[in-house]
């Protein structure tokens, strides 16, 4: 498998490059290799799906890619920068600006309205209130929820909640969108709608990594990875 190199002269390096990435968990006196020497390069604007049996390390890989988790060994270059030396604050700032997350269980704050949930990352980033409100409104319109901005999560269906979460994940205009089984908790119609929205975002230049169990969804990606026991065992394109 040929690896595009970050140091290749004359061409910009890949957005994401992993080398020998390993993540160990110790459970009692046992060690679990959630990631076992993963090498991977992802170019800007690529659309990847990540499949594999439960426990194969998909979520762990996504968490490391999203800078929520640090590898035990190996290196992760983001935009040509090694992340292993970054401080906690630097990682937090990078998460805020460069990376969007969509989770299986939506993770909306129940006491906040849809718009306020979408505003959260901008609030942490110190975006002025007026601009924040406008951007949240636009982001919600973009996922077809322009008329639901003052609803609380409890007043929304599962598919609508996930769309709020998607709006929140892209409102800071990140480069990368990471989705961990975004349709895992949805019926197939809502799931299809969510995938349609995510793919539309990708068309605007977002780099997209979707973890899924559904082959129909996974098959839509331009590049399809399969994992087993913490390793990437298949990397198909086209």
């Amino acid at each position: 498998m040929p690896l595009p190199s970050a140091t290749e002269p004359g061409r910009p390096g890949p957005l994401i490059r992993l080398e020998g990435l390993t993540r160990l968990f110790s459970v009692g006196d046992q060690e679990v290799r959630a990631l076992d020497g993963v090498d991977l390069a992802i170019g800007a604007g690529e659309y990847l799906s990540l499949m594999g049996p439960s426990g194969s390390g998909k979520s762990t890989l996504l968490n490391v890619l999203g800078l929520l988790d640090r590898p035990t060994a190996g290196e992760y270059w983001l935009d040509g920068q090694a992340t292993s030396g970054m401080s906690d604050d630097r990682l937090a700032d990078t998460r805020q600006r460069e990376i969007g997350f969509v989770f299986q269980f939506f993770h909306l704050v129940p006491r906040l309205t849809a718009a306020e949930n979408v505003e959260l990352p901008m609030l942490l980033g110190g975006v002025p209130p007026a601009e924040r409100r406008e951007r949240a409104r636009q982001a919600l319109s973009g996922v077809g929820l322009g008329r639901r901005i003052d609803h609380r999560p409890a007043q929304l269906s599962g598919g609508e909640r996930q769309r709020v979460a998607i709006a929140r994940s892209v409102v800071m205009r990140p480069k990368i969108l990471l989705a961990d089984e975004p349709t895992g908790n949805l019926d197939s119609a809502s799931g299809a709608e969510v995938i349609r929205i995510v793919e539309a975002l990708r068309d605007q230049g977002l780099t997209l990594v979707v973890v899924t169990h559904d082959p129909a969804i996974g098959g839509r990606a331009g590049r399809r990875l399969r994992m087993r026991d913490g390793r990437i065992v298949e990397d198909a394109r086209g």
Partner: protein
């Protein structure tokens, strides 16, 4: 993160958990209310006592038999075993100074007073006409004691307002007879109601010439000699003169004590000020207890909100932002608790003021400010641990918590 946003987030999560919030507010409120109320009580006592003695006037000195060993200390309320009594001759010897305006010897005791079949126990004070001038007491009717020689046992007396109304059933006592112990005296005047002043309830008092009181109690010694200096500047000279004269008359021993309003005020001020501060200290402990409670409830809150914290971190919240959020919550809890405490204290003190109109229940400014500062300080101090715990949460594990 912007200041207002942080406020909104912190306040929002307080509103969302009303029971928890109310509990912490109450704990802080009780602590603050305790500090403010107790110091107001101490302060009321101090003001009451100092007001009492302030009524003595600035150029009065009081001579008491017996030596008070604690120099500069409080007035010896129990005049111990006095080696030598103060006598009427001692008193008479004091008028001869230019610094001294007038003097009044005082004897006190208890006796049974009766008019016909009505009788009651009264405080008897033997003194002279000048006593009224020195103390500034007013008459409701009739005359005060006559200006007679100190040794004359003139059988006259002046009664307090309450005695007048109780023993004479609404009739004017002036000109009537009053039996006091085994003596009889004609009432020449009634005092205007004045309440208690310097521990003496003037309304229940029977005043008579000093010689008559000596005979009544069969005791030659004086209880006090009141000495009024010509003015404030003459005080030092008056004290020197009284000291020298009495020491001379008592064969060189200083077996008497001179107290002045200033000295008494200073002493009481000191004692009661210390008392107030001690009360404040005790009450402040309750604020620390409130702080510990805030800490525990916040720790529970952190574990209840683990997912939310994980989410904030996933969205790019810095460690310091998470800490800030929880500290803000603690700060607001403590601040609102403190304000509620001030309100409670105000109500309690208003009720007390109704019940005890003689006292002024005003918490000192330092106690109010200190209680609020201490409460918010405690709240934030004890908020640090939960806030740090929240900031240290691993976002992956926090999000995975269901």
């Amino acid at each position: 993160m912007r200041f207002m946003d942080r406020n909104r987030l912190a306040l929002g999560s307080l509103v969302r958990a009303p029971l928890r919030t109310a509990m912490m507010l109450l704990a802080t409120a009780i602590g603050v209310a305790a500090v403010v109320t107790l110091t107001a009580l101490g302060e009321a006592a101090r003001l009451y006592v100092t007001d009492e003695f302030r009524s003595l006037g600035t150029h009065l000195l009081v001579v008491i038999p017996g030596r008070n060993e604690t120099t500069g200390g409080g007035p010896p309320m129990v005049a111990g075993a006095s080696p030598r009594d103060l006598t009427l001759d001692d008193a008479r010897a004091l008028v001869r100074s230019a610094s001294i305006e007038r003097i009044a010897p005082v004897i006190v005791g208890e006796a049974t007073a009766s008019v016909g079949s009505l009788q009651r126990t009264v405080q008897v004070m033997g003194t002279t006409a000048d006593f009224r001038t020195i103390r500034g007491w007013r008459m409701a009717g009739g005359e005060f004691l006559p200006n007679v020689d100190l040794e004359r046992e003139t059988p006259v007396c002046v009664v307090g307002a309450l005695i007048g109304s109780e023993l004479y059933r609404g009739e004017s006592p002036v000109g009537q007879w009053l039996r006091v112990g085994d003596r009889r005296c004609r009432v020449t005047g009634v005092l205007a109601p004045q309440g208690t002043s310097v521990m003496v309830d003037a309304d229940q008092l029977v005043l008579m010439p000093v010689a008559m009181a000596q005979a009544l109690f069969n005791a030659p010694g004086l209880f006090r000699i009141l000495v009024q200096a010509r003015d404030r500047d003459a005080m030092a000279g008056a004290i020197r003169y009284v000291t020298a004269t009495l020491r001379d008359r008592h064969r060189g021993t200083e077996d008497f004590t001179i107290i002045t309003q200033d000295a008494v005020l200073q002493t009481f001020d000191g004692i009661l000020g210390t008392l107030t501060r001690a009360l404040a200290g005790i009450a402040a402990v309750s604020l620390a207890v409130a702080g510990v409670l805030i800490m525990n409830v916040m720790l529970v809150a952190v574990s209840q909100r683990t997912q939310e914290i994980g989410l904030l971190k996933a969205l790019g919240a810095r460690r310091s932002q998470v800490i800030g959020l929880f500290l803000y919550e603690a700060f607001y809890l403590a601040l609102f608790g403190a304000l509620a405490g001030l309100a409670i204290a105000a109500v309690v003190l208003a009720i007390l003021a109704q019940l005890y109109p003689d006292f002024r229940f005003m918490p000192p400014v330092w106690a109010v400010a200190g209680a609020v500062l201490l409460a918010t300080g405690c709240g934030m101090l004890f908020g640090i641990l939960p806030a740090r715990r929240a900031a240290r949460l691993d976002p992956v594990a926090a999000l995975a918590r269901r």
